[in-house]
Amino acid sequence: MTDEKPKRIKVTALCELCHARKAVMKRPKNLQKLCKECFYNVFETEIHNTITNAKLFQSGDKVAIGASGGKDSTVLASVLKTLNERYNYGLELVLLSIDEGIVGYRDDSLATVKRNQIQYKMPLEIISYKQLYDWTMDEIVSCAGIRSSCTYCGVLRRQALDRGAAKLGINHVVTGHNADDMAETVLMNLLRGDVARLEKSTTIVTQSSGSPIKRSKPFKYTYQKEIVLYAHYKKLDYFSTECTYAPEAFRGTARELLKSLEAVRPSCIMDIIYSGEHLVLAPKKKKVTTQYKNKKKLTEQQQEEMEINPDGSVSLKSKKQEFKDGNRCEKCGYLSSNKICKACVLLAGLEMNRAKVTIDNNTAVDGAAKLTKTLEQLSF
């Protein structure tokens, strides 16, 4: 429009915040045209605001960063290191990785984490499914099929992270869950009718009362696309392949919806989180249905009956009471809302189906990732 002196940068091409440097990107969150410096500034400050508003850390805390080697956790490690130095959080940061045992996927991403360890000068601890549960994900998939892979992996990883942190004497794990993940979770909880999780789905810190380990999500309000841009401009070293075991089909539809919504209105990810934070369950109406007919007194024998859920878990006795935190699994001692924790139930199921005999040098258990990799390296 107004460019009296067309010698250098046009005024209209300047960053919308500093009006001094050339804009190089459109900010995914609000489509502002920004220069690199201003983008770093707003990106980091927003995360700093999120951390300080939620009072996530205290000086002297030892914090484990759940590091997969992917973009989210790599950027998380980088940003936390930056902020820790800039604002004197006084944190001791440690990288904590889980090795699920997916050949061709996790081994490569772990190599990235090992490089990050050197780049950020942070200690690294790797906990593997194999040493913890005596199963790798590849083995689980070859035994239980690919469809339920995420169920197993999710349940086992949750526990593995906790156990890894406990081993390091750390009571706070931060994960790279970003705003897109949060928005997707809000939608999924609505679509699946997960009433129990509806209210809690957007909380930044999650902790069970009996557990010493809390988890938090400093990237709760950070757009995935901005994480990608940050990693790109900062030239961060991350591993960008998706897990080869397919995500759940229904979640895929929600993800697709979110994508097209974001194209129409970029703020919608924040909007969904805002909505999610304001979803409150109505106080339960008490239904009093007094039973007159066929009313029998419970015999002692009946009182000793146990309810076995369809998935094989056993409910705790006090059935009428609300979900209570702090119960322990009878088998492994991990937190559980049932008598036996979900991980133990899943593992017990797997154990029953484990092949009794193995073939030497059997490569059939190696998952699709291995095969893809081998195929990639073929040449004619």
Partner: protein, 469 residues
């Protein structure tokens, strides 16, 4: 592809296999909810869903003391001309017909149809005014009143318009709007930054116009034709628009206060799937009266609105065997309640755009996670650029001083809706639109038609004078 569609029509070939499970006589024409239905039983089944939702005594034919206690009940039916509202009209009219026959011409309530004229807005394929007389004739001898209202009547007069300016820090102000020209609704919609914003504002406008008409017409109840699928869609759309805190109200049968009156809002077809509504419309021949927009829906995501996208999502779920999702979402939405009031706000404020309660200052929330501060300017060249920018701004506009106005109460959803409105032009909106009014002008009014005939041909006492307008 469609392994488990919500409604399956049976062809003539397989009809000899399946008998209707209700009457066990007729051949089934379709399967829904895993049950084969014949035409009559299916229609009865759908009507039953509405009967169940409106069991209250006030909608029944009343005798004796109950007449005085409940008074004449008037029910306003919001009719867009789409399948759902046409089916609701048919269902309601059938209830009136049943009452008429069973109670020798008595009725439990009076039915008033309101259509907000979208002919221009959506380039509809036909005018509602051409269809309504025919439609109403279907249900004779039951009288049904109908009115068609111009969308522009939302703006009662220019004096209630205000100019709204939203700042970068998500606070807003209102300024008196000094009108030189008459401002129409379409002028306001033109200020919207995108289609989704227009959609949001139209929702606010429709709800207000419907409530206002119910108030003026003395209706105690407003009914919408929303199907279960539509309500599920609404829940997701509200969530996506940052209006999640209103779900608990918006989708439940609830009452609203309009001036000095209470209006009850009901969704009588909330237990009916959209696919079942389409089937009902097809079986009863109502589908021929459906008003359709002649503007084709774009194939490109970017040109669609948020509601378009969520609607498409649910229809895709229907087709891919996840049809039960709609009912899950509705059940989940029904369990929601009012959010807790933020201690910092103290009392609940009302949004001056859409009127909903504000529980937490949305500006605070946004400012924390959307920083608008620049990184320090360092190099000499940068300083030069900055000076260049300052010069150019100084020349092109002198709006450096911010005009002072009254602070604006605005909810999160409306901040999102108005986000992207140009700072210079601002936004024009009737911020105080609830002043009570006694009458309004309709484009078509069935009562007025009759009155016109009476006025013209019935002789009054002083018949010599010309009283007509």
């Amino acid at each position: 592809m469609s392994e488990n569609p919500a409604v399956t029509f049976l062809g003539s070939s397989d009809s000899d296999v399946a008998k209707c499970q209700r009457c066990k006589q007729e051949n089934a024409v379709l399967i829904t909810r895993k049950e084969p239905f014949c035409k009559a039983c299916f229609i009865r089944f759908i009507r039953g869903k509405q009967r169940k939702q409106m069991q209250d005594d006030k909608y029944k034919v009343k005798y004796g003391a109950l007449i005085e206690k409940l008074g004449t009940q008037r029910v306003l039916l919001a009719l867009s001309g789409g399948e759902s509202s046409l089916v609701l009209l048919d269902v309601m009219a059938s209830l009136l017909q049943e009452q008429y026959e069973a109670h020798k011409g008595k009725q439990g309530f009076e039915l008033v149809i309101l259509n907000l004229n979208e002919f221009e807005l959506n380039s509809l394929n036909k005018r509602i005014s051409d269809i309504l007389p025919e439609l109403v004739k279907r249900y004779e001898p039951v009288p049904i009143h109908y009115k068609v209202l111009d969308l522009n009547s939302y703006i009662l007069d220019d004096s209630i318009l205000e100019k709204i300016i939203l700042h970068d820090d998500f606070t807003g102000i209102t300024l008196p709007y000094t009108a030189q020209t008459k401002y129409t609704l379409f002028d306001i919609l033109k200020l919207c930054p995108n289609k989704s914003s227009i959609e949001d504002l139209l929702t606010i406008i429709y709800q207000d116009l419907i409530a206002r008409t119910a108030y003026i017409e003395g209706c105690q109840t407003i009914i919408y034709g929303h199907s279960m699928t539509r309500i599920a869609n609404e829940i997701i759309a509200l969530t996506v628009k940052g209006r999640g805190s209103t779900i608990y109200q918006a989708i439940a049968d609830h009452t609203i206060a309009y001036n000095d009156k209470e209006l009850q809002i009901l969704f009588p077809l909330r237990d009916v799937l959209y696919a079942e509504i389409l089937a009902y419309a097809k079986l009863t021949g109502l589908d021929e009266s459906v008003l359709v927009s002649t503007i084709p829906k774009s194939k490109i995501n970017k040109n669609l609105t948020i509601r378009d996208l969520t609607t498409r999502y649910f229809s895709q779920l229907d087709a891919t065997g996840y049809a039960s999702t709609a009912s899950t979402v509705v059940k989940t939405g029904e369990k929601l309640g009012a959010p807790k009031v933020d201690d910092n706000v103290g009392t609940v404020a009302h949004c001056q755009i859409c009127g909903i309660e504000i529980y937490q200052d949305p500006g605070d929330w946004l400012r924390n996670i959307t920083v608008n501060k620049a990184a320090p300017v360092e190099t000499e060249q940068d300083h030069e650029n900055l000076q260049l920018y300052k010069d150019s701004v100084g020349v092109s506009s002198q709006s450096t001083e911010v005009p002072h106005g009254n602070p604006l109460n605005i909810c999160y959803g409306c901040i999102v809706t108005l986000g992207g409105v140009k700072q210079e032009s601002g936004f024009i909106w009737p911020t105080n639109n609830t002043s009570p009014i006694a009458t309004q002008q309709y484009i078509v009014d069935s009562d007025r038609e009759k009155q016109r005939v009476l006025d013209e041909f019935v002789l009054t006492d002083d018949e010599g004078e010309d009283e007509g307008e």
